[in-house]
């Protein structure tokens, strides 16, 4: 896959900013944001660019199939850490990925079953509970990053780090593409999202897909939060197992 050069010349807002702030205490996490009314879930066809004005959508990333940390890495300030160094996995105990997948499926089933209100209001509560759990885990993951990963020069580098290193550490693959409008909105696309693969392919179970994405949305939001970025993360599925995560940076 070709790598596009990142022709950033001046990112006025983020120049020189260092993402060093960390959530010191997981319990200080604020409540998860309300997910948008439409949920941005299982919308099809998905509009690229959403509500933003017509800005040039730039494809910043075409995921490398050459393996974790290898191959197509853009010239630029991004550090390639490799999944082994993320979470300090070198020499640590390894677990089988199915465990996480089964646990996640069971969590979705459990939190869904609990809700007595099956209407749209009830649905949103369950989604935000799952999202909140993902947020806590994402924060904790972020806190375990090696120190040098925190010195990102630009916001875009943080997103690339998510797509490459964090995704590889969590899902053993890289994100397939990253697009941005350079106005603080990023769309991360995974063409075969591991938590959806076992379910179906195509349009079957499209209705169920959002439940299986909520935790991961929170995970992304939590990791970004530890890296000093406040965001809103939603996901949408047009056809399983491909999905898109939309990250909108919240400027304070």
């Amino acid at each position: 896959m070709e790598m596009l050069e990142d022709p950033e010349t001046g990112k006025k807002q983020r120049e020189g900013r260092r993402y060093l702030s960390r959530a010191a205490n997981i319990d200080k996490a604020g409540p998860p944001p309300n997910l948008p009314g439409s949920g941005a879930c299982h919308e099809s066809p998905e509009k690229e660019g959403g509500a933003s004005p017509k800005h040039q959508w730039k494809r910043e990333w075409a995921g490398s199939r050459l393996g974790i940390g290898g191959g197509a890495c853009p010239a630029g300030p991004m550090r390639t850490l490799g999944a082994e160094r993320l979470l300090g996995t070198g020499g640590r105990r390894m677990a089988d990925v199915v465990l996480f997948e089964f646990l996640h499926t069971e969590m979705v089933a459990e939190l869904w079953a609990q809700d007595p209100d099956p209407g749209p209001g009830g649905q949103k509560v369950s989604l935000s509970v799952l999202e909140g759990m993902g947020f806590r885990v994402g924060q904790a993951l972020g806190e375990r990053l090696p120190r040098e990963t925190l010195a990102f020069r630009e916001e875009l580098d943080v997103l690339k780090f998510l797509c490459k290193d964090v995704w590889a550490a969590v899902f053993q693959k890289q994100m397939d593409s990253l697009r941005t409008n350079h106005q603080g909105t990023y769309v991360l696309q995974d063409n075969s999202f591991p938590l959806l693969i076992r379910m179906a392919s195509g349009l079957q179970y499209l209705e169920e897909a959002p439940k299986f994405l909520a935790f991961t949305c929170g995970l992304l939001r939590g990791t970004l939060s530890t890296l000093g970025i406040k965001s809103l993360v939603t996901a949408s599925v047009a056809a399983l197992p491909a999905c898109k995560f939309q990250v909108v940076i919240q400027r304070s």
């Binding site: 640590r92 089988d96 990925v97 806590r136």
Partner: protein, 180 residues
Amino acid sequence: MSRQANRGTESKKMSSELFTLTYGALVTQLCKDYENDEDVNKQLDKMGYNIGVRLIEDFLARSNVGRCHDFRETADVIAKVAFKMYLGITPSITNWSPAGDEFSLILENNPLVDFVELPDNHSSLIYSNLLCGVLRGALEMVQMAVEAKFVQDTLKGDGVTEIRMRFIRRIEDNLPAGEE
């Protein structure tokens, strides 16, 4: 890409940290949702059971172990193959009952409790109870009714974590009504 996610005998590994962190978030959420520790314990056991009945299929597909002839073989497989495969640890097997129907799994390190501390108001919470449910569910699918429970827990100040496994009975296949 095949929907079956066929991986053959190869398994993908990740740091157990993600599993540990996710499990922690789950237990925290359950403690919020349920009023008392007993209910949380039951819920963890039930969720573990649901995971176990599916995990056994994954295990049998990938481990190539044959049918176990007795409970001792079962114990060996659980400790040396299954725990190793899924959690990267190998518990030791001790304290066999004279009848050979009970044994203990001793976990020096329980990956689920990395970085975990039990707060004082949850003294009867069995934090890792999911594991008991998994064992029970998995073994039920291979025709064994067992009881699994924690008798020692490092979270509660014990030196090791000990799961006591007790064989209850063999589950006979039930023929559908009308068939003989």
